[in-house]
Each structure stands twice: as C-alpha cells, then as structure tokens.
C-alpha cells in the first residue's frame, strides 16, 4: 500500500499501456485453424480460395496474407508492420511508395509552410486590428463567419483556383491556422495594458520600436495562446488534406494502407500521426517558453 501511494505517474502510464496492449492482443486473437469436422472437399475449397494454406508439417493454417484484412489486427501484427516500415524508412520504392521518413518529412514541411505563413499573416493583421478599434469592430463579423468554416470546406475552391494539389494542401493548413491566431492577436494587442503604451508614447519611441519593444512582447502570451490553437487545428487539417488530395505524407499513408486493405498499416499510420504531433507540439512549447512572461 505504501508503494502504491508513492507510485509515479510514469509507472501508472506504463501499467495502463500494458493493460491496453494485453486487452487488445486477447480481443483480436483468433483461434488457430481447426480442420476437424471438415471434409477433404471443404478443405480443398478453402485452400483454393486462399483462406488457408498448407503448413510444412502437412496440416492446415489460416492464410497469413488473408488474415491481414480479417477482423482487427492485434498489436503484434502492428508491431511487425512498424518494424518492416521503419526498416525501409529511407527507401523510395516508386513514385508513390516512399519510406516513412520521407512521408513524415513531407507532412512536416507542408504543415510548417502553411502554419508559418498563416502565423505571419495573422499576427500582422491582428496587430493592425488590435491597434485600431474601429477597424477591429468593422472586420470582426467577417472573422467570426470565416473562423468556424472547416478548412477542408475550402479545398475544392482552392484546388480549382490554384490548380495544384501541393499548394492546395499548404493553403488548407493556412486556412486552418490563420483565424485563431488572428482573433487572439487582435484581442491581445487591444487589451494590452494602457500603461505600457503610455510609457512608449512618453519616450517617443518610433512606430517600429513601439511594435518590437512594447506591443509584440506585451501581447506575446496571448498571441502564443492563439498560435497554440492554430497549431492544433492545422495539425488536424493536414491529415485529411493529404488523404483527399493524394499528396504523399502520413495522412496519405493512412489512406493508401486502407486502399491496400492493410489494417495494421492504417493503425501504424495513425500512430505515426500521433508521434509527429507530439514532437511538433513539444517543439512549439519550447519556443513559446521564450516569449512568455509573468505579469
């Protein structure tokens, strides 16, 4: 009991993971093929259909190829799939069959391009709106209408106008990331404490210095909160954008494995998306730590 009271969250996490994996393993476990009670005719038919194969000992077993699409694959199959995929992470087998490392790189670069462009645009516009109350009130209704639109809803229009799936995917990420940052930046700048602006006014700081020394650092904690929301929504948007556009990436991997009827591959792709998200997120938090301050 004393041990339990002191058990670290890490241990609980590991325990939960073990319980989950075991449950997954046992729920997806299928009994071995049982030829008893079947006629020679039936067995031949099953073998002909590819449901079962002859083993080296002369008996029969389920066909492992067909097993992949029967039911939900267990953790061992996913682990197997992950091992083979990771083993050829840097291999390009064909135009549409790139290793997992390439796919991650494509997704991350697409995400980064869209997110960075959206952040720059949103922060610049947000500062402008935050400093000009009338303009903010005038533009706010449009932001409110545009904000809840799913970025994927833009895709057909974007694809039609830019006529290039590569740029469309980036623009979908852009659309997902631009609104939260824009809204929170405008709010953060407009609610900046008047004292700071008063000091800047008395010191006769130039417009540029006022922006870089006072307004941006002062609104930084709020801006970072907006960026964090944008970050999440951009990460959510990049996966379906790749699926729908057929652009190589981890989202595409999930879809192509589904097309291959490789469910273990789908699960592997989902895990890759999660891992990529966690790594990007922790990087973002590190950056955010530099610009926030305590009041």
């Amino acid at each position: 009991m004393a041990m339990q009271g002191k058990s670290s969250p890490w241990m609980i996490s590991c325990f939960l993971l073990a319980v989950f994996l075991l449950a997954w393993h046992f729920f997806t476990l299928r009994p071995a093929f049982e030829p008893r009670g079947m006629s020679e005719e039936q067995l031949k038919m099953l073998e002909f259909n590819g449901d079962i194969v002859r083993t080296s000992e002369g008996g029969y077993a389920w066909n492992p190829e067909k097993e992949k699409v029967k039911g939900v694959p267990g953790p061992l199959m996913v682990f197997d799939k992950a091992r083979t995929e990771l083993a050829e992470a840097f291999v390009k087998k064909g135009t549409n069959d790139h290793g997992i490392a390439y796919l991650v790189a494509y997704t991350v670069s697409r995400f980064a391009a869209g997110f960075l462009a959206a952040s720059v645009v949103a922060i610049m516009l947000g500062v402008l709106l935050g400093l000009n109350k009338a303009l903010f009130q005038a533009v706010n209704p449009f932001i409110q209408i545009l904000k809840p639109i799913s970025p994927l809803a833009w895709m057909p229009l974007l694809l039609y106008t830019v006529k290039d799936p590569k740029w469309t995917a980036v623009l979908v990420v852009f659309m997902a990331a631009v609104w939260p940052t824009l809204a929170t930046t405008a709010f953060g700048v407009s609610s900046l404490r008047k004292d700071y602006l008063h000091v800047a006014a008395i010191l006769q700081l130039t417009w540029f210095k006022r922006l870089y020394k006072v307004i941006l650092p002062g609104a930084a904690p709020t801006i970072v909160n907006g960026l964090r929301i944008s970050f999440g929504s951009a990460l959510v948007a990049v996966v379906p954008a790749e699926m729908l556009l057929g652009e190589l990436g981890v989202g595409y991997l999930s879809w192509i494995e589904w097309n291959n009827l490789d469910i273990a591959g789908v699960i592997f792709a989902i895990l890759v998306v999660g891992v990529v998200g966690v790594i990007l997120d922790s990087g973002f938090n590190k950056l955010a730590g530099f610009v926030t301050y305590q009041e």
Binding site: R193, D195, Y196, H198, V199, A201, I202, L203, Q204, L205, K213, V214, P217, G218, A220, Y293, Q294, E295
Partner: protein, 289 residues
Amino acid sequence: MAFLQIDHMTKFFPSHSGGDPVCIFKDVTIKIEKGEFVTTIGHSGCGKSTLLNIIAGLESPSEGGVILNGREAAGPGLDRMVVFQNFALMPWMTVFDNIRLAVRAAYPDWDRERIAAHVHKYIALVGLKGAETKRPTALSGGMKQRVGLARAFAIEPKVLLLDEPFAQIDALTRGVIQEELIQMWNTSRNTVFMVTHDVDEAILLSDRILLMTNGPGARIAENVMVTIPRPRARVTIIEHPHYYKIRNHIIHFLVEHVTHEEETGVSNNGSEKKYPRVVDFEQETLARQ
C-alpha cells in the same frame, strides 16, 4: 510667465448614460515655477489623475492647455516623464532593460557604453545594485517603484509627474522611498507635479499643496504653502510647529469641503472664487505678532 502653467483648463468626459458630458474639472489654472515641488490633493475621482495625464500629454483637455517653458506642450514627450501608480514597468524586460529603453530614447546619439554607464548610475542611486538582471515580477512593490523613479530621473525630464507613486507600497517601505525621492530631487531639482491623497506624504515632499474639491466640476480651492524649511526628514518634520496646523487644515478641508457646491457656501464667502485661497501659516504667525 511660470515655468509650467496649466491654463484655464476644463475637462469633460462623455457620460455613461449617453446624456450631457460630465464636467470633471473646470477652469483650472496652476502656475509652477522652475524647481518647485507642487502637490495636488483631493478625493478619489476628483480628476487629479486626469489633470496629471493631461499635463503628461496622455489625455487631451476639453478647453485650455499646458504651457511648458513658454511653449505649448500638447501630446506626450520626453520633457514630462511620469512615475506611474502601478509602476508601468515592462514585465518582459529586466530592470536594466526597462531603464535602458528610456535612456536610449532620451539620448539617441549616445553610444552603448555611455548609455549603460548612465543606467548603472541611476540603478545605484535607487539602491538596486545587484538587481539589474531581475524582472519586475521578482521585485517587491517598493523595489518596482524604485525602478520607476530611476527610469524617470534617468531621462532628466524638465517636469517630473508623480501619479500617486507610493499608493501601492506598504507603509514602512513608503517612508524610506519618500526620503530617497527627496534626496534624488535635492540633487536634480526637477520641477515636480505630484498627485496623491496621502496628506503626510504631501507635506513631507512639497513646497505647495493644492487642494482640489470633489467633482463633478472640481476646481482648485486652496493653495497651502508648506512653511517648513528643508531639508526635511520624516522624524523631525512632525516637531515643526506648522506641521499639524497644515495637516489639520488639509484634513478639515478634505472632510468638510466634499463637493464644490457645499464649499462655495461655507468658507470662501465674498472672496473671488475663481482663484484659490492662499493659506500661509508663516504669514499668519507674523501678522499675529
């Protein structure tokens, strides 16, 4: 013409209910000579902070204006630096950077070393040596306002505007910083305009104390001369025969003359209401002898 003159100034605020604008103060004229330390006392909401903000150029008057050194001073400028009630230090900058921001703005043609030396000089002056790299969050209220004072004195403004500078500092520290302020002012001899509602603080620091009636339509009713010779210290000032006379006079004023209307009826009968009554206990004593 006085060095700093607030000339027939009136300020209206738009009323919350959408009716006629509310008059905060009316036809205020204040003349301050170079090197003078003048304090305005009044109840909260009488418009004394608004008055200070207008002198600083952070708000604009509805009528009248500010004349500094023979020129109209409209809009903020480095010649009128404010020490804010809630310090107004940038929390994302260190103590050093907060002061350096001001020094760089005031002396744009100085080089790095000269600016740094100047900043260090003023940090030492307020006794914050060793705290240069700290951020305001890590400082106590008293230390924060020391930074605020260092920042204000460091740019050597023509006029120093103190907006209830010690209101948010605990009583024990307040006295210490008040004396530090006296010492700094003794060497710099800036012209100072302070607003406060602390009577003891006003007497300790000021040459003259202006008493403001309550708003709406507040005005400067009295001009009390602090007839206690400098140098003053907190311990010895209370022994001066005029100290309690001045103190009681001000407190009576604050208690009795709550509104402009009452005030007109009670004390200043027959006298010209437009100009503040001068209260000078030195003259009074001489007259009696």
